[in-house]
Symmetry: C2
Subunit: 470 residues, 2 copies
């Protein structure tokens, strides 16, 4: 069993880290974005990898849990705990340096506390792209983004955070430091600790720095919004786009008319680029090399889609302003959802070809529970749906409090039955520990437990996240 | 300590697997491609995952080691042992089915014994590409390719085997079966067991099936051979190609004139596309989408490279025959090398920007050992060099037997000093266990040992590979 932070430990940490090492604004670290939980614990902010290691060694001595803390933007409670002995919250925000940039290698070494938007800008300054991109990029920090294997908008082309990382520096549970800040593209010398740490949500080690993979910036980028008959046609369009355009597709986002209706209901300004507004449409973006005709390529795609009976109407952005207006639709849907107030939100993924069937069957599963509106949208190219359930007009989220658990269970059960995942990109945190226990392959679960026990035998690293605290 | 296979265990295995389960041609499984080691052990060939699991459980009971065996094409002795108690050699060749193909999802589920060329052809039949490609693709099996995280020719665009796998089915050391044959593109429910198993060379589990990621086939493919002033200019050309063409570069292979000279010396027919033959050149291949002008794009690249002073001469293939002739140069260099007989071969990788310096410094390290010829070539885009050391004309590999260890050590030491890896794509096997102990980060090594002990506490899985048997 772990102990709560004691005055003695606090004194030792203060002596070790100095006054700056115990932030005055500690309360900020005990909130989370949706206001669901109120955190607890002692916030510390080391400024070097060696200080992180010292904190870990001290906490191991005191048998006190450590919650690694990035930008605090996680949605599954991985960065916050309401239960158990009060832990140390170890924020990486003072370690935010970009240590080195290697444009010739398309690589960059950054500290865990670097904010994603700052990394994107630093890549831009050397005419490169760091592709990871998501709504919270202005505050999310790379250590947390890697620890949770963040996804976001252009996974279809560039993969999740895991695919964008070449190496890591990690403080292990015993306070030793694994220096794995490799800049190598190929290295088959032993087990893949990097990918094991990525997505482990700080339960196997604390990421203190990372080597990131940069990409060339696409020279010719164009965006289109195309109507589709239904989700099945959207999948056929995706296959057609792949055949015509290969891996140059940067985004392929499915949008339901409900998204537009919610934007209107929430009074968020937006364009209605197609008239009449179809039930379903997809936002497609491609990025080609220099001198290539991205607009022409999207036009050819649309014509082929029309011919194949997949799309009847569409618009191709002719200016930066039009591109931004199309993207604003997609990017503002989450804000509209928040304004309406979801009964339950679900970050699920499915085998691509199962998606039409899922979308057809899910309402039937919910009908027995209550009367809802659905806003289903997401990263179709990744099989990742945000399947969100809302009250009817005139009713509120609170009216459905008693049904929330049943709604979640129904959506997750169907997802699991169809070979899907109940956490596509947000992770497990503390919110989905029970889901993991319910749905994960039992051999996988047992293996995860064995790995956790092997790498963190005292159980001090992010206790209670991903795996139940024992 | 492990036991050798006993007559009793052999009887039990025969009873379990039937006559077909103990191959008559067992001797073939005890050879390896370069004839360096002579294997030993009892060869068994289960035909189902459940049979694999039963073999593992039985071997666990008898405390007998198991060497998982794919196509037998590995170059580091991962599939063969000369020392220790005689193990069970578990060949997956009877499990070679393509279980299912999902063209709409760009996915395919195959058994571990499926041969790479067969997988490539099956993907082709549904107009998709399985990009993994290497010299031994006619006999290498996917289980071994994943277990060793194989690289090959177009890693620059598609990544190593790890990047081309969505899910695995694995028999664990206790004979339980992890069903991780996911077809999901995004799934953040727990630790990344998939990437841990990939590259673990059968020491943490036995891969019995895999879900593979298929890709669209590039519609317009063109190849060029361009001279470069030196390796530094080759790197600048790579950056230029990235800026102009993005991720459409399928291959970027560095070739030294020595390669052409060896082809001549070995009397292997080949073209000499540039006259005079430059000291260094690069083989570039790009693959674009439909209706795009790949030849024009390579011409634009060459013109820009000329303008920037990076390349003076070049040829762009105008036909399939010309493309094949250019590729034959690159692909026949290993055969020429074998004909000459290397003193020592090295599969190394370096941070890209360190490559010119490495190529400049390595001959100095070797000069103190003996008088050699160097053939340095490889996948420049991946920072992966095959840095091979040969006798002078009139001398043979055998004349340098006494210097081999020193040559290897000198090349590996310099690689390590410059932040490189002594096994870029071939793995550790049994050949490089000592190298791993010498060069690996000690915390990484300790962590690997902890993982091995956690997942294979009896040490029965591929004993002595990757980590020294304890």
């Amino acid at each position: 069993m772990l102990n709560a932070v004691s005055p003695e430990l606090e004194d030792r940490l203060r002596a070790m880290l100095g006054p700056e090492g115990l932030p005055a604004d500690a309360a900020n670290f005990l909130q989370e974005p949706r206001g669901r939980w109120q955190g607890r614990g002692l916030v510390v902010a080391p400024s070097t990898t060696e200080e992180v290691a010292e904190v870990v060694r001290l906490c191991a001595d005191f048998r006190v849990g450590i919650i690694p803390y990035g930008g605090g933007t996680g949605l599954v409670g991985g960065q916050i705990t309401e239960t158990g002995p009060a832990p140390v919250i170890l924020s990486l925000h003072r370690m935010s340096a970009i240590r080195a940039t290697y444009p010739r290698e398309n690589a960059m070494v950054v500290e865990a506390g670097a904010v994603l938007a700052d990394i994107q800008q630093a890549a831009g300054r050397v005419e490169r792209l760091f592709p990871l991109s998501l709504a919270s990029e202005g505050s999310a920090r790379i250590g947390g983004l890697l620890a949770t294997n963040a996804g976001g908008l252009n996974v279809i082309r560039y993969g999740t955070a895991r695919a964008q990382c070449l190496g890591l520096e990690v403080v292990m549970a015993d306070g030793t430091v694994w220096n794995g800040l490799s800049r190598l593209r190929k290295d088959n010398t032993g087990y893949d600790l990097r990918d094991l740490m990525i997505g482990a949500e700080g339960t196997l080690g604390i990421i203190t720095a990372a080597t990131l993979k940069l990409m060339p910036r696409p020279a010719e980028v164009t965006t289109a919004l195309l109507s589709v008959q239904d989700p099945s046609a959207a999948l056929d369009l995706l296959a057609l786009a792949g055949a015509q355009l290969g891996e140059t597709i940067t985004a392929f986002e499915l949008i339901h008319r409900q998204g537009f209706d919610f934007l209107a209901e929430a009074e968020i300004a937006h364009v209605r680029p197609l008239d009449p507004l179809p039930e379903w449409c997809v936002l497609v973006e491609i990025g080609l090399g220099q001198g290539q005709d991205a607009g022409g390529a999207l036009e050819a795609l649309f014509l082929a889609a029309q011919e194949a009976g997949l799309s009847k109407d569409g618009t191709i952005a002719q200016s930066v302003a039009q591109t931004q207006a199309l993207w604003a639709v997609r990017e503002n849907i989450p804000a509209a959802n928040r304004a309406i107030g979801a009964v339950s939100s679900h970050d699920i993924s499915l085998p691509l070809s199962a998606i039409p069937d899922f979308i057809a069957r899910a309402p039937g599963r919910l009908a027995g529970i209550g009367d809802f509106r659905i806003n289903c949208f997401g990263h179709l190219g990744d099989g990742n749906l945000h399947y969100n359930v809302f009250p009817r007009p005139g009713r509120s989220r609170a009216d459905h409090d008693h049904q929330r658990a049943a709604v979640k269970r129904a959506v997750h059960d169907l997802t699991h039955e169809m070979g899907g995942s109940v956490s596509a990109e947000h992770g497990v945190g503390r919110l989905k520990v029970e889901d993991l226990e319910r749905y994960a392959d039992p051999v996988k679960l047992a293996t995860m437990r064995a790995l956790k026990d092997a790498l963190d035998p005292l159980g001090i690293l992010n206790p209670g996240a991903v795996l139940r605290q024992q």
